[in-house]
């Protein structure tokens, strides 16, 4: 699905925050991106979502090398990626319906398709009765569910989430993770940046741990959270 080859990332003249990243996320896989606070989880999500160009190395998606210097050539790849943010990043001047419909409108999908898909998806995330509400009137969990609906409306091949449960209580976090689990079962490749060990234990999947800029793969059952905390 997506492959990193000797990828390094530095901001300005600072030392590399990610060094020699060599890994791939196969089609249909589920990975957690974990590490201590400030380890570079968000930077890795930005690299994976093709928003941040790497300082060195190559990123391949579907066996095609990503050329970051040509912004317009990135668009078809970005449309295959859905991103969920910790603070949801909804557009407050638009209704829930319009927020979720946005990726389809950007793709100039037919209005009939937009109506049908958005309604179905909002029903699926349990917000069928909140379509014409504005985001500021929703709770944190509802906002995050809208954000997930927006990220998956255009059926992305890769779904990225940056601390999607960071602002939610355990019960809501569990509900949100159930949604991700369902999407994974439908075949979506998922990568979630989190440092919530309870969730990782509750929904065990492979782990990409970032430590001192280096990324290591850990399979479920060999987790060492003390390492992450240090």
């Amino acid at each position: 699905m997506i492959e990193f080859e000797n990828v390094g990332l530095r901001y300005g003249t600072h030392p590399e925050i990610i060094s020699d990243a060599n890994f791939s996320l196969p089609q249909g896989s589920f990975h957690y991106l974990t590490g201590a606070s400030g380890a570079g989880k968000t930077s890795l999500i930005r690299l994976l979502s093709l928003i941040q160009p790497p300082s060195r190395g190559q990123i391949r998606m579907k066996d095609q090398v990503i050329m970051h210097n040509n912004r317009q050539s990135l668009i078809p790849f970005r449309r295959k990626i859905g991103v969920v943010y910790q603070n949801a990043r909804l557009l407050d001047h638009m209704t829930v319906f319009d927020n979720v419909a946005l990726p389809l409108r950007i793709k100039k999908a037919p209005n009939k398709e937009i109506q049908q898909n958005v309604k179905e998806l909002l029903q699926w995330v349990g917000l069928g009765n909140r379509m014409d509400f504005y985001p500021e009137t929703l709770s944190g969990g509802e906002r995050q569910r809208v954000s997930i609906a927006r990220a998956v409306i255009s059926q992305p091949h890769l779904l990225l989430a940056d601390e999607p449960t960071g602002n939610l209580d355990d019960k809501l976090s569990y509900k949100i993770m159930k949604l991700f689990d369902q999407l994974h079962k439908m075949g979506t490749t998922i990568a979630i940046a989190t440092h919530d060990e309870h969730l990782i234990e509750a929904f065990p999947h492979s782990l990409l741990r970032i430590e001192n800029g280096h990324i290591g793969l850990e399979e479920p059952g060999v987790l060492n959270f003390q390492k992450a905390r240090s």
């Binding site: 928003i51 970005r78 991103v83 557009l91 001047h93 638009m94 209704t95 319009d98 990726p103």
Partner: protein, 294 residues
């Protein structure tokens, strides 16, 4: 259900204060541009009209008492024999008195008691300078008492003043043009910076530059449309006022004969120009900002 199908702009560009300012600027600049262009055209047409009239006429002034029967016969004969001459009229003494009396305080003195020059207006068929010079030479050869006035000096001076006014108008129009470009560019750049996060989000969602530009076009060109419309209404009022105060024959707008159609033409050209200018400035500014910031 209506709410679900209604289109909402993805970038919240609406801002009452900034929109009013921009609308006001576009309206003001459009109307000023219309007035400047109209005035420049008017002066151009006016001077062109003067030039045509003056190139095709001469005024002969013969000293009082010098215009005897012999001179009249010779002069008329000369004018009749000249191909360049279309017609001539001898100004009546009463008319001359009526024209000059307010300045000379002549009161009720009869015309025949005042020492008046004889004035002859000569209309020419052509404005060919060589033929005109030959005619003037022949007339002056008849008598040293005949003074030929082609108003050239006066016209050249008037022309200089008109050209100066035209230059000022063009410079003002250029200054307004630059100001309009700067205002639109600054406002667009300001909006891009304010909504930088939203634009970044749209790009994450797969929006192309054309989609983001489209949001700006929609908003700013709508404002331009209303600004130009408002300027058109104000300009029409200005046009009406000039006709009321100055009379239709001296309309301040393009030509005396086709004032309204030319006004409409000036408006349409100016409106299209402002619209195109707005489009180009928005396009350039957004393109540059997207390349620089994202």
């Amino acid at each position: 259900m209506k709410k679900l199908t209604s289109y909402t702009s993805a970038i919240p560009l609406k801002n009452k204060q900034a929109d009013r300012f921009m609308l006001g600027m576009i309206t003001a600049l459009t109307i000023l541009l219309l007035i400047v262009i109209s005035s420049a055209l008017y002066f151009q047409n006016l001077t062109a009209g003067w030039k045509t009239k003056m190139d095709q006429s001469l005024t002969l002034e013969i000293k009082s008492g010098a215009f005897d029967a012999d001179m009249e016969k010779k002069l008329i004969q000369l004018l009749k024999n000249q191909e360049a001459v279309s017609s001539h009229t001898i100004e009546k003494a009463d008319n001359i008195v009526r024209v000059v009396s307010p300045w000379l305080n002549l009161g009720d003195i009869p015309a025949d008691e005042i020492s008046l020059p004889t004035i002859i207006h000569v209309s020419l068929k052509t404005n060919n300078e060589i033929q005109k010079d030959k005619l003037i030479f022949d007339i002056k050869s008849l008598s040293k008492n005949i003074q030929v006035n082609s108003y050239n000096d006066w016209f050249e001076q008037s022309l200089k003043k008109t050209r100066f006014l035209q230059t000022i108008s063009i410079l003002t129009a250029l200054a307004l043009f630059v100001l309009l470009v700067m205002v639109i560019s600054l406002i667009v750049r300001d909006r891009i910076l304010i909504h930088k996060e939203v634009i970044a989000l749209l790009q994450t969602l797969g929006a192309r530059d054309s989609y983001i530009k489209g949001e700006f076009y929609r908003h700013i060109l709508t404002l331009s449309f209303f600004g130009i419309g408002l300027a058109g209404i104000l300009f029409l009022c200005f046009y009406g006022v000039t006709i009321v105060f100055m009379g239709q024959d001296v309309s301040v707008l393009p030509t005396e004969n086709h004032g309204f159609s030319n006004m409409l033409c000036t408006f349409i050209i100016t409106a299209l120009f402002i619209f195109a200018l707005t489009f180009i400035v928005v396009r350039t500014t957004v393109t540059n900002a997207l390349q620089r910031l994202f």
